[in-house]
Symmetry: C2
Subunit: 460 residues, 2 copies
């Protein structure tokens, strides 16, 4: 329970209608997209102006109240699961696009702006904001920055961190900190912008984000290659990369995922295929045409049964809608879906695919595999029922083995979902204890009262 | 003076021939390329193995000895100027290229590898390491990372921070910290890689750097456009960017710089031109041809007297050699050369050029202007004699006015040279006191004994 004096102080900042304490509301903010126990917060506040963030932090600091910021709660590592004694700060009303500067190719936004909204707005001006996490239709840019969100275009265009030019945020002391610039180059002061990206709300609360934009590609060509074995599909991925073609998107779907997606979305995918590659090249029309032909030839040479090019935008959109439906489609099949994102150097994708098959058999669990094959970032997806304790134990063992295999290939625990609560216990395996100690020292200095999203990343 | 017991301890680590204390040696390491008072260190050590770094830090920590790491000393903000009581750690023998992985397109290097050496090695494998600071022929990759070095290709390809995938370093406690990955996506733990890039040796000593490589562009075309007014040249820069062409390089030279370069290097530059634009487009041959024509038409339309395309690699190399000679050429003219790098949003380049002319007249000083116009990063270069105190006061006033003008245009104090000692006093102007406080708290936690390159960035 939270003291009435604290609620009064918060209510004074945001107004009575924007302070929530009802059980139904708290339930809504008790979980995110990670498979973890829900935790009901004590209250939720919905600031309208970014200045109110500083005031909210001051209250939290005075009363030692943990504070978790939540955008749309699409987080896959538990980064938005609050503390039981804490409050949730909702960014839904901090949703202004402050500026789109076409001449200097940047945008300035508040943290609650939805990713797809910004993408659509900049597209109207012939510009392009590439990071496109699977949840971009609802995810917020603040959440994307906090988690360093990736997406389908990471291979060619990078991830969120590659587009954050500057930030304004309130630190744990309630001070207003400015970092980075609206210039394409900035070497002034520490790269606090870089530090804040992916810090999961543990070092400050975002107020304003300056994002780099680039010219929109003039042409693009989407393709679907159909395979009779997943090995051939994964070898093709390595083959495309080694031929020095950098597609904007290079996704894989295994048979399990294909069937789930097709049943769910009736997109016309071949349910008998062992694997599909969904590929898009973009850029100058001449290059797109040439690379599309090269990719086609390579896929056929490396064992694709067929490869079809999208004939128009409608067909293209259908392909990507099917891909984006994968998570929802798989989630229909069993009560619990665990989506992993252990990532390996790209050339190891065939090895990783084989390892996932072996691990699935070993632990007698269903693993659907899809994801960003082109950047080594597969999403092995385990369908289970968390209430079945015996099975879920096997799932947890399988996950740990997936981590171990990825690390043994020179990979990482998380390509894009972040550490959060879910991967905090495994961080030492990858980074070593000294890195955690370094991180904890940094964090303790910047949040001495330990109020900003406790428990995430460093475990304490 | 430094105690003999300390020297003995250091000598035990690196061997007697790699511990320097002679006055002539100390003189060599007392300055860098910034116009600042030299400071003679107490000793210099030259480790051969990265493990020795941890041992050196342990000695420094025990005796509270300030430690400054030095690559080639090409730093332009005083980042490598040591403390009088401190030691300098030279990275010259830590110069192994540990791995070039062509399949996964990354390289792993020790900090003392020369930038141009790596660039040449990866080129042999059809790969490309784009960051090319002006001093790349001698600068080290460790120094580039510590300063987040830029270069001539920043416009299209970004700067050093965009290529650092992972780091291993020793922190101020002598612990070995690992961050980042060899995967193209990594969201595991804090983005310590981002924090370390540009931290100027104040948070740790680099041991190993993993750098992203990209496929080499298949074609490139360099051009020289000649202008009768610098205004027309700077307007063309803004025009090229707004036409959504992203040249690999887009450099400006004013008449002052042209004459200095021509006298110095006899490259055949037109000494009567008010300004030159040196432009290179690269990529797919069809795109290069098309963009070269578009750039040519645009330059002529916007007032270029002539524009010539390099006919072959030799001509191209001559153009860039002339550009890279600018700093050396200007340095011949007067005893003291102050090279600034205040940076503005690209569309403000014409305004910045006008402001620099006004400031030069106001303070009656010679300002040669050249630099990376395409990314808003001009290098106003002031020729003076530091011994002339009256004139140097005017120079300092002019520099401060350049900073103020850049900030008023939404710019930054440093595009690529870093904060170091030179810009530390001005940091508050741009970032505000809270950002400095935040940075100092972070730094104090990570370097409690205050031994890592004191005085840089945050001023203490």
């Amino acid at each position: 329970m939270i003291q009435k004096s604290i609620l009064d102080a918060l209510q004074k900042i945001v107004g009575p209608q924007h302070l929530l304490t009802q059980k139904e509301d708290m339930l809504t903010y008790s979980y995110d997209a990670a498979v973890l126990d829900p935790v009901m917060p004590a209250a939720a506040v919905i600031p309208e102006k970014t200045d109110q963030i500083g005031e909210i932090i001051a209250v939290c600091r005075k009363y030692r109240i943990p504070l978790t910021v939540r955008g749309s709660g699409t987080n896959l590592s538990g980064g938005t699961i609050p503390e039981a004694s804490g409050i949730v700060v909702l960014t839904g009303r901090l949703n202004k696009i402050i500026e789109i500067n076409a001449a200097d190719m940047y945008a300035v936004v508040e943290p609650g702006v939805v990713t797809a909204t910004l993408a659509a707005e900049v597209e109207k001006q012939g510009l392009f904001y590439p990071p496109d996490p699977g949840s971009m239709a609802v995810s917020t840019l603040g959440g994307n920055v906090a988690e360093n969100a990736g997406g389908l275009r990471g291979l060619k265009y990078g991830v969120t961190k590659d587009y954050v030019m500057g930030l304004q945020f309130f630190d744990a002391r309630g001070h207003h900190v400015k970092t980075g610039s609206r210039t394409v180059k900035c070497a002034t002061g520490y790269n606090l912008t870089g530090l804040m990206v992916g810090s999961e709300g543990t070092l400050g609360v975002l107020e304003q984000i300056t994002l780099k934009l680039i010219p929109a590609p003039r042409a693009r060509q989407a393709m679907v290659a159909v395979y009779d074995t997943i090995e051939a599909a994964s070898e093709t991925v390595a083959g495309i990369i080694s031929s020095r073609i950098l597609p904007a998107t290079l996704e894989i779907l295994d048979n399990f995922t294909i069937r789930a997606v097709e049943d769910f979305s009736k997109a016309g995918l071949p349910k008998d295929a062992a694997a599909l590659l969904l590929i898009e090249v973009d850029g100058h029309p001449a290059v797109v045409a040439e690379e599309a032909e090269q990719v086609k030839a390579l896929c056929l040479k490396m064992g694709a049964r067929t490869i079809e090019q999208a004939k128009d935008d409608a067909q293209r959109d259908k392909i990507w809608a099917a891909r984006r439906a994968a998570l929802s489609a798989l989630a229909q099949l069993k009560p619990t879906l665990v989506l992993e994102d252990a990532t390996v150097p790209r050339s190891r994708i065939p090895d990783m695919v084989r390892a996932l098959q072996r691990i699935g058999q070993k632990y007698r669990i269903d693993i659907g595999t899809f994801g960003h094959a082109g950047d080594g970032n597969l999403h092995p997806t385990i369908l289970t029922d968390r209430r079945n304790k015996e099975e879920f134990l096997r799932v947890e063992q399988a996950i740990e083995e997936i981590f171990d295999v990825a690390l043994s290939m020179g990979g990482t625990l998380s390509g894009e979902h972040g550490t959060g609560i879910a991967k905090a216990p495994f961080l030492e395996k990858e980074a070593g204890y000294s890195s955690i100690l370094f991180s904890r020292q940094l964090r303790a200095a910047l949040d001495p009262d330990h109020i900003l999203n406790p428990g995430k990343i460093t475990g304490v």
